[in-house]
Symmetry: C2
Subunit: 218 residues, 2 copies
């Protein structure tokens, strides 16, 4: 067993040796990513009283792409955009979740996530590792219409959950409604109509006292 | 409020009235399906000691389509196949999960799920309700190459989790290795190579005593 394979989830119950090599690598990766179901986010679920995990979040984003794609200001390839959201958080299996309003953890987030991507995607056959890495890089760089829309979903979904929870992570100590608006503004890079709706929810939440008003100036 | 809207999750924290009607319907649906995260399946997770929920399962299937599509015996549209698996279990929000090896619950499963589809998809704007219903029907009918492959993922994923758990639901009282092979054979309608691997895992599991041998005949 090579060093890289030690500690992999699939090694708990190794596959039979006579499985085709390429499929063996693919199944090893698919078992490893089961861990995404254990990475907890800050967001409270709407349906029950617990926090959301990354796999649930990624599924919800994918469904949002299916339903909300028509709101993209630029034409997007729906299937491609779904792939971006499905795998955008995989690196958190090794790098952990970085809360949106935690600027200290955010400072080395990119380096930790790149190292995680190198480690995780290398479980795949080389051609697929390259393809999945390109998709992850595309999401992170936020330049294509698909990546902009995927990122917008990633910001809009917890906003919906916070709305449902009448505050949720908007109540994080030290965070103001202006901070929320600033972090969520990327929605507007993908969709004017969704950002109009998102801002409406943030504004209304502020009015109702679900987020803190900024300290008055002067 | 109309009768249909009573009891909807979104009614717990109603959206502002001035939200665009179409978007209001879409967001109401997207909040309602948060409940998929609370529908527990029988399958044990590989990564931690609890059962899987439907949202996690649906995400995992979607990732399996991304990684395993090349094994389809017929060419498939990956983006379309992913959409089939993302929404195939949504009806369980109202109809509940029906365990694969529970033939009593299986008898009225289709009727319960059709009623659930009628109720859930009608939350969407009419054109989208029709489109989502067509996707769900396509999955259920298992005629297109995409639907066959989607169904194969739905059978292969819990097989992987059972392998990792050294038995899992294969140990359901009264279930034999032959029952498992019979229920999983639809994988072979989509992919000869994946069914060869799946059968290898089932056979090996039987050899190791993780499933029950059929009662010897005669």
């Amino acid at each position: 067993m090579s060093d890289e394979r030690r500690g992999l989830l699939a090694e708990k119950t190794p596959f039979p040796d006579d499985l085709d090599d390429r499929l063996h690598a693919q199944l090893t990766f698919l078992v490893e990513i089961d861990q995404l179901k254990t990475i907890l986010r800050q967001s409270p679920l709407a349906a029950t009283d617990r926090r959301e995990n990354d796999a649930e979040h990624s599924w919800h984003l994918a469904m949002m792409v299916v339903i909300l794609a028509e709101h993209s200001d630029e034409p997007i390839d729906v299937g491609h955009t779904i792939q971006l959201v499905l795998l955008h958080d995989l690196v958190e299996i090794y790098a952990g979740d970085t809360p949106l309003y935690d600027s200290a953890a955010g400072s080395d987030q990119h380096d930790r996530e790149v190292a995680a991507a190198d480690k995780l995607f290398s479980l795949l056959p080389a051609d697929q590792a390259r393809r999945v890495r390109l998709l992850w890089d595309e999401f992170e760089e936020r330049r294509t219409p698909e990546a902009k829309f995927a990122k917008a979903m990633d910001r809009l979904q917890p906003l919906l959950l916070n709305w449902m929870a009448r505050g949720g992570t908007w109540r994080t100590p030290g965070v103001t409604a202006d901070d929320v608006r600033a972090r969520k503004a990327v929605i507007g890079e993908a969709s004017a109509s969704l950002w109009r709706a998102g801002r409406r929810l943030i504004d209304e939440g502020e009015t109702r006292g679900w987020s803190r008003r900024a300290t008055p100036q002067g």
